[in-house]
């Protein structure tokens, strides 16, 4: 009796159940379709001569297709070399000078014996991560002003004030130092988590074998965070051409464009404010293709040589 009824009942129930579940998700799916997928489709304007008022993202006959013309124009444009160089260098400096700092910081915290002190140091080091970019930028700008604290210190030591905010040569250093200051504490979290999962018996055993603290760090703590280091390095390399343009936008000015203008800021200025929508979209597509390629290469290399990979 039971066996007779159930299959039929279950299949109609299944259908109703699935309908119900999709209804629950529907608002979210629609939102993602509109705000993520339609802009992706909108990339086709990179291959058109689009300007406002023309049919929106369409294949209508009035659409003027230009193929790769916007890409070619951008590559041959006066700013291409400068933008590529700045975008690469600013990310590269951050990688080279900033990547190992969270690792060292985590190793340092791991060696501190006082739990309370360690907690205070951690809390302090995370703080800049939660302060808005605007506030950090406002502080940095006031510090590097000709009458700001940096120059006051320079004067204190008998030096002559420097125009830090208008001299292009200083911008990379200012950007790199500020970015590291803002992020090093928070970036150490994943390392600390990996370290805390190490079995304490390993340290005990090492002590028995006569390993000193430095050796314990080298042979137990460091290997425990190696996967984390590799994965974060893959991400960092994948980001080599995506300098933090939202922050640069806040601290640069026309006088330092020579070293500060990156693809993201150019895209905002020339593409969005300048109304060159097709060109801006082409530039954006170009950079995201490069970034994805970089991530892909880094991931393949990492999988080949270290067994750690994102996918």
């Amino acid at each position: 009796m039971r066996a007779n009824i159930q299959p039929r009942k279950r299949s109609s129930y299944r259908l109703r159940e699935n309908m119900q579940l999709y209804l629950i998700m529907l608002p979210v799916l629609i939102h993602i379709f509109i705000f993520s997928y339609i802009p992706m489709y909108g990339i086709i304007i990179a291959f058109q001569d689009y300007y406002p008022g023309k049919p929106f993202f369409s294949f209508h006959e009035s659409v003027h297709w230009v193929g790769f013309q916007h890409f070619i124009d951008f590559f041959n444009g006066p700013y291409f070399g400068r933008l590529m160089r700045n975008t690469f260098l600013l990310s590269f400096y951050f990688l080279v000078f900033g990547f190992w700092i969270p690792i060292l910081f985590a190793l340092l915290l791991n060696e501190l014996k006082s739990g309370i002190f360690k907690k205070y140091v951690q809390t302090a080091s995370y703080l800049p991560h939660f302060i808005s970019n605007v506030v950090v930028a406002g502080m940095v700008l006031s510090f590097i002003n000709t009458d700001g604290i940096v120059n006051a210190i320079v004067k204190l030591f008998g030096g002559t004030p420097v125009a830090l905010n208008t001299e292009p040569g200083y911008f990379p250093a200012i950007y790199t130092i500020t970015s590291i200051w803002k992020s090093f504490g928070w970036s150490s979290i994943l390392y600390l988590a990996a370290m805390s999962s190490v079995d304490p018996h390993l340290y005990e055993a090492a002590k028995m074998d006569g390993a000193n603290r430095f050796k314990q760090m080298l042979h137990i703590t460091l290997p425990s965070i190696r996967p984390t280091i590799f994965i974060l390095l893959i991400f960092a390399i994948g980001n080599l051409l995506s300098a933090n343009s939202e922050f640069i936008l806040l601290i640069y000015n026309p006088m330092v464009y020579e070293t500060a203008d990156v693809i993201g800021t150019y895209l905002y200025r020339d593409g969005l404010l300048g109304g060159n929508f097709s060109m801006g979209t082409a530039v954006g597509l170009f950079i995201s293709v490069i970034n994805f390629t970089l991530l892909y290469i880094a991931n393949s290399l990492s999988r080949k040589y270290s067994d750690y990979a994102l996918w």
């Binding site: 629950i24 993202f57 895209l267």
Partner: protein
């Protein structure tokens, strides 16, 4: 007993000297991290003449709250404050709601086409249309220069959906089954049974949303030319970065107030930075554990 056991070890390894050095380095790092904030605070409360002479380094010199008196009368700032509260409130609620609605169905094992839905969610995490297509879309939808431009596009976070889904899968199946036996529908199960025990993950998402929206300014820069709609960070942007708002104008409203006229621009800027950032600095240590939890949960999926 414990000291007897620990001490020989330490002496043998020369740990005391090493410890002192490590603690000293940690202190210096703390100093470097916190000093900029400390400097901004002491500058904002020192007497204007010392500030103008750049004499303040370690301790406030003199004591003067005139800049704060001026700031609290800044109606534009309060306006921006209230806008931010609207954006944070609406954005956080919507983020939590959509994360739950998006995550729950994905945890039901016999959902047909689940793999397709997951792929549909994952693709936008790696590819995007970019700034300009999104800008054109917002314009086309008639959201440009309305509060919706800042609230609606950000109300769904795929990242949050994945976090909540991961949490939901840890809920024992038995709990769900017993609800079904009682004749509950999926929606009832979700809101009556699962949500009440999901507070930890909702707290993580809520706190990330609050801080994220509180700190965001770029959307407002792109989508909101109307200053009346600007959130606090955008107002700060105009004051401390773009310098298109002169806070000294506030003091011109009552020129009788001679003290106000002595104020330097820098002191007013520092005062407004402190005044708008203090809520974050004071509340963040209490929420720290949620942030860390979120960071660690997120890393599982990386």
């Amino acid at each position: 007993m414990a000291t007897v056991r620990r001490n020989p070890n330490r002496i043998k390894q020369g740990s005391v000297a090493v410890d002192i050095i490590l603690y000293a380095i940690a202190l210096v790092i703390c100093l470097i991290t916190l000093y900029p904030f400390y400097f901004v605070i002491i500058m904002s409360i020192s007497s204007p003449s010392e500030v103008a002479a750049m004499n303040v380094f370690w301790f406030p010199k003199g004591f003067f709250l005139g800049s704060y008196e001026l700031i609290v009368r800044d109606t534009k700032m309060w306006w921006a404050y209230s806008n931010t509260l609207i954006y944070v409130g609406a954005g956080t609620l919507l983020n939590c709601l959509t994360a739950v609605l998006g995550a729950y169905p994905l945890t039901v094992r016999n959902l047909k086409g689940r793999k397709w839905v997951v792929t549909f969610l994952l693709i936008p995490m790696y590819f995007g249309g970019g700034l300009i297509p999104s800008y054109l879309l917002i314009n086309k939808l008639g959201m440009y220069n309305t509060m919706f431009a800042v609230i609606i596009p950000g109300m769904v976070s795929i990242w949050n959906i994945i976090l909540v889904r991961t949490f939901f899968t840890t809920i024992p199946e038995g709990l769900k089954e017993s609800a079904f036996i009682d004749g509950a529908s999926h929606l009832q199960l979700l809101f009556r049974v699962i949500l009440p025990i999901s507070k930890p993950i909702l707290a993580v998402i809520a706190i990330y949303s609050i801080v994220g929206i509180w700190n965001s300014w770029f959307d407002a820069l792109v989508y909101l030319p109307n200053e009346k709609l600007h959130p606090l960070q955008m107002y700060l942007y105009r004051v401390v970065v773009q310098q298109s708002v002169d806070l000294k104008m506030l003091s011109l409203e009552d020129t009788k107030n001679a003290v106000a006229n002595m104020l330097s621009n820098i002191q007013l800027k520092y005062a407004i930075i402190v005044f708008t950032t203090l809520p974050v600095i004071f509340t963040y240590p209490f929420f720290q554990k949620y942030f860390i939890k979120g960071a660690l949960l997120g890393s599982l999926k990386e």
